[in-house]
Symmetry: C2
Subunit: 297 residues, 2 copies
């Protein structure tokens, strides 16, 4: 019998669950709001239990917001270890799913698994070093370096880099509960909502909010480019649904780098260097499935 | 006969050349000032020609300031492609050495090869993801991720990340010719010299310069930690000879991260997380030798 995998994309606002093997074979999909850990993880478990084929699942992959413990050798492996999201710190996410469904469960960050899906089936095929950055409820970054998922000491937390805060244009102090005006505190959706006093999706495309947003994102991308030298950057997440951001961010990245890095990918072909996910909003859940498939082998 | 390698550490201020195989077997070593490309590279070639055993060199490795082209598939492989250092842009560094000495020549960044030496023989043994950052004439960063030297599109240029410029404390505008107040423009040796009006090595250890320097370096390290999640950070280069910087930088990194990353390495054991090179000032030239040994196999 063919193998079949479950995937959970655990985002700060939404959970997405699906069953399948790849973009052309997703047999079920559901999404629901992220509330408390118990209630939300229970809903995910119920989804897989209700699938007629739940018994046949070979493994489940989870791509989660975090920080999470992705080190297989750690006693806290599979836990959300700490989180700006109230109530979610120290949650044994993978363990709860494993106990309820009795299948192997593998967990990595939401952005690392999205990167994995883009690497297999999307905008990063054929590359060996790239970044997937999501800009939504938070800002998170992951990716693949030298052909392997990023990990290291914990895992990347790219949203919490510091960039110059443009106090002249932007008196908003930032809203990261840990760092105030880190990149996430200045440029994730809650920062937009608090700075402009309305949900970001209601701001018109020509609102000055987007120029400032592009400015901060471009500063962040400059730092990621100078640190990792990625062959491509994929920008996903709810805020990046504002597609007018892409040309602004690209142009500002070029201005900030100021031709210091003379790669044609940046200097002339930046439209295919900073791109939306090839798999759109499905990158997260497909990546969770890819993680399950890759890990259980 | 045993293999013997040549190594060139090409820094912005000094060139170091040596012959050998490892820290316990360095049979010759010389250093001279970096002047024009032709004169300086000629001196390096002369050094190897004068070594009695020059004929026996199996290969030469070069760790160079840059940016350099480290992609073996590129027609400009082994070139310094562009440089804030006048005259050095578009120099076929590896090619000139190869033609003169008729041995295989391999080139990577000065910091990547220093990282390679620390990985083999120094402060990064047994790790698979770490960063080597040098703070001297410029600021450069390299390292190993998932067990392999960092590369990607070009290679890391960590000195050119942007960090918040503390205008209240620091009216100095920055001195990077490309970016003005990037990390290098604020915190490399020339920035210290211009800001305080005297060579940094003449500033007393309790001068306020070092608090500000530690502040900028800590902001930079925060960004590198959040981006790459290194298992250790090695800080080398002339400015880091000011050993009073280490405890200041460590404390400020903890303050900036604000316990967001709950790894004991950072929260409690930071003295062995942010460290000087295990090989001291020899990391560069030993890394060039390691690069030659690794590449020619």
């Amino acid at each position: 019998m063919d193998k079949l995998y479950g995937g959970i994309e655990a985002g700060g606002t939404w959970f997405v669950c699906a069953v399948g093997t790849d973009p052309d074979n997703l047999s079920a999909e559901t999404r629901f709001r992220t509330t408390t850990p118990l209630a939300t993880i229970k809903k995910a478990i119920n989804f897989f239990q209700k699938q007629a084929r739940s018994e046949a699942l070979t493994a489940i992959g989870i791509g989660s917001f975090g920080p999470v413990d992705i080190n297989p050798a750690s006693p806290k492996h599979g836990h959300i270890i700490i989180s700006p999201k109230p109530g979610w710190g120290n949650t044994d996410f993978a363990g709860m799913v494993r106990k309820a469904l009795k299948v192997p469960v593998f967990l990595n960050t939401d952005v690392n698994v999205a990167a994995l899906a883009e690497y297999r089936w999307g905008a990063a095929q054929g590359l060996d070093t790239f970044i997937y950055l999501t800009v939504g409820t938070g800002i998170g970054g992951g990716g693949i370096v030298n052909g392997q998922l990023m990990g290291g000491l914990i895992h990347p937390e790219m949203g919490h880099i510091r960039v110059p805060h443009d106090w002249n244009r932007d008196p908003f102090t930032g809203c990261c509960p840990f760092h105030e005006d880190c990149l996430e505190g200045l440029a994730a959706a809650p920062a937009l909502a608090q700075r402009w006093g309305q949900p970001p999706e209601t701001l018109p495309a020509d609102h000055q909010a987007w120029q400032l947003e592009a400015h901060y994102l471009a500063l962040g991308l400059n730092n990621l480019i100078c640190t990792l030298s990625p062959q491509r950057i994929i920008l996903g997440g709810g805020v990046m649904q504002q597609s007018q951001l892409f040309p602004m961010v690209r142009k500002m990245v070029q201005q900030i780098l100021n031709e210091y890095l003379p790669a044609p990918e940046i200097v002339t072909d930046i439209d295919s260097y900073i791109v939306p996910p090839g798999l759109g909003r499905r990158a997260g859940v497909l990546g969770a499935i890819a993680l399950a498939a890759e890990s259980e082998q």
